[in-house]
């Protein structure tokens, strides 16, 4: 075999191993490989690396919890465009003409519908529709950029960092001036949830470069909730999409909570006396909404 043939193999080896050579080039190479053990070894070695990478990678399968989490998010996605994803009965009330009617589905492209933006202004009731135009991939990623803040909230719950302060009084004293609003760990002992949530600690975090406090609570069952306390003037949830307003009557007073999903967790955002709260937790949505009205 001539040197040039060995060099040809050297040049084409990767394309050969990756199955990118056309049939005639493969034939030429094969005939060389049949007579050149050096080149045949190079090919066999390249194959063995490629195959080892592939086999080892596929030894791991997606965990069942990931599948469940995606299904949960997909369900929320399906329901998000309707004003209340909480319970079918409520949705019938608020959107009787469009609950699950197919006509509604075909009325909006899926992507744009999922990206319908609800604004929380002072009243938290202003409703703004997202761009229902060409829902190409760019639109999808744009919508995803706008959900980023919600995801940042959810990540606080999904992957909690250790608390910086566990004394509720000190949390209020030290964190409030930094966050710019009162940060008061709530005592749930007499709250509406039978199993009381106990304050487990707090830490400061930055969202969109603005300080906020992340408060963690646990119940005896080991479930957690995470509450981000923020100044709504500094961190605007207004621009976040995929949040649906939901009104709950608490102690004779209507309270509006914005409900959505991020990273597979339900999320409720509320505002009270100029303080913003974003609550996520190991709860179903109605429970979370009830909980959020405590803030």
């Amino acid at each position: 075999m001539s040197h040039s043939s060995c060099q040809d193999v050297e040049r084409a080896l990767e394309a050969y191993v990756d199955g990118e050579l056309d049939a005639s080039a493969v034939l030429t190479l094969d005939s060389h490989l049949a007579n050149c053990s050096e080149c045949a070894e190079r090919v066999a070695f390249a194959h063995s690396i490629k195959r080892t990478i592939r086999v080892e990678a596929h030894e791991e399968v997606a965990p069942a919890s990931l599948r469940a989490r995606i299904l949960r998010s997909a369900e929320a996605l399906d329901e998000a465009p309707a004003s209340s994803p909480v319970s079918p009965s409520r949705r019938v009330v608020s959107l009787e003409h469009s609950t699950r009617a197919p006509s509604w589905r075909s009325a909006f492209p899926w992507v744009a519908a999922a990206a319908v933006a609800f604004a929380i202004g002072g009243s938290m009731r202003g409703v703004r529709t997202g761009n229902a135009g060409n829902p190409d991939m760019a639109t999808a990623s744009f919508a995803s950029a706008r959900t980023q803040l919600l995801e940042e909230f959810a990540v606080q719950h999904a992957r909690p960092l250790p608390p910086e302060e566990i004394d509720p009084a000190r949390v209020t004293k030290v964190f409030s001036p930094i966050v710019g609003v009162p940060v008061r760990p709530v005592r749930f002992a007499n709250g509406p949830v039978a199993d009381p949530w106990l304050f487990a600690g707090a830490r400061l975090m930055a969202f969109r470069d603005e300080p906020a406090a992340t408060l963690s609570y646990r119940n005896v069952g080991g479930a957690r909730i995470t509450v981000v306390v923020f100044d709504p003037h500094r961190i605007e949830v207004r621009s976040a999409c995929c949040l649906s307003p939901k009104t709950v009557r608490v102690r004779g007073e209507d309270r509006t909570v914005l409900v959505g999903h991020a990273k597979g967790y339900p999320l409720a955002v509320s505002e009270n006396d100029g303080v913003g709260y974003a609550v996520s937790g190991d709860l179903n949505e109605p429970e979370l909404v009830t909980l959020a009205t405590n803030f």
């Binding site: 990767e14 592939r54 997606a62």
Partner: protein, 219 residues
């Protein structure tokens, strides 16, 4: 507005099932891209949701796996990398290391590093291979993982990464050279091959050929 306005596309439920059928492959890639199991789950989750949202953009009959890997790759490149774009500096750095990266392995060395009867590396080298992949620069790793784990074509990888095909080929090539060099060093450390059995680090193939011929005329 009629229900059948999107006859060509899949129904939401069917599409969801299709997307979920790809989870294992997506996860295999994500694990290699992120190096962190929980980040890999986040990445697959986010990519799957994006895919579901973009259902109408998927053309039935085209390669769903490649389409989803494109979304996964984009999601990774745009949101999951630590720090900014390392491309120029990293590629520049490896460019300058050409003599090392292109270090040549003899056929005997290659033979010693793989299982004699099957197309697989010796077990003692496999962990090092995984480590070496994890430490590749992002751009090299993405290209290699798409090529080797999921066996996308160069064209599909180019589309996924938004780069020309030539760039993809060069990234895969460099990635493999880096891996080979790591494996060679590890094989020496593990006593599989001896340093002296190696021919050093020649700068190009041509200069090797006399020695190659002298090595015993196996060809």
């Amino acid at each position: 507005m009629s229900v059948s306005s999107d006859q060509s596309a899949y129904s939401a439920k069917d599409f969801e099932a299709l997307v979920l059928s790809q989870l294992d492959g997506m996860y295999a890639v994500a694990r290699r891209l992120t190096r962190d199991p929980s980040l890999a789950e986040d990445l697959v989750h986010d990519a799957a949701i994006k895919a579901l949202k973009a259902r109408k953009q998927f053309e039935p009959g085209t390669n769903l796996r490649a389409w989803m890997l494109r979304i996964l790759t984009n999601t990774f490149i745009n949101g999951y990398r630590r720090g900014g774009l390392e491309r120029s500096t990293m590629e520049g750095a490896h460019e300058s290391e050409d003599p090392v990266a292109d270090g040549w392995l003899s056929a005997a060395t290659m033979r010693a590093m793989r299982e004699p009867e099957e197309e697989a590396l010796r077990p003692v080298l496999r962990a090092e291979l995984s480590r070496a992949i994890a430490e590749l620069p992002d751009e090299f790793r993405v290209a290699l993982v798409l090529c080797d784990v999921e066996e996308l074509s160069y064209k599909e990888i180019a589309e996924a990464m938004g780069t020309p095909m030539g760039t993809v080929m060069s990234r895969i090539h460099r990635a493999r050279k880096i891996l080979q060099e790591r494996l060679r060093k590890h094989a020496i450390a593990a006593g599989i091959i001896s340093e002296s059995s190696e021919l050093g680090a020649p700068t190009n193939v041509v200069s090797l050929e006399p020695r190659l011929a002298a090595k015993g005329g196996r060809s």
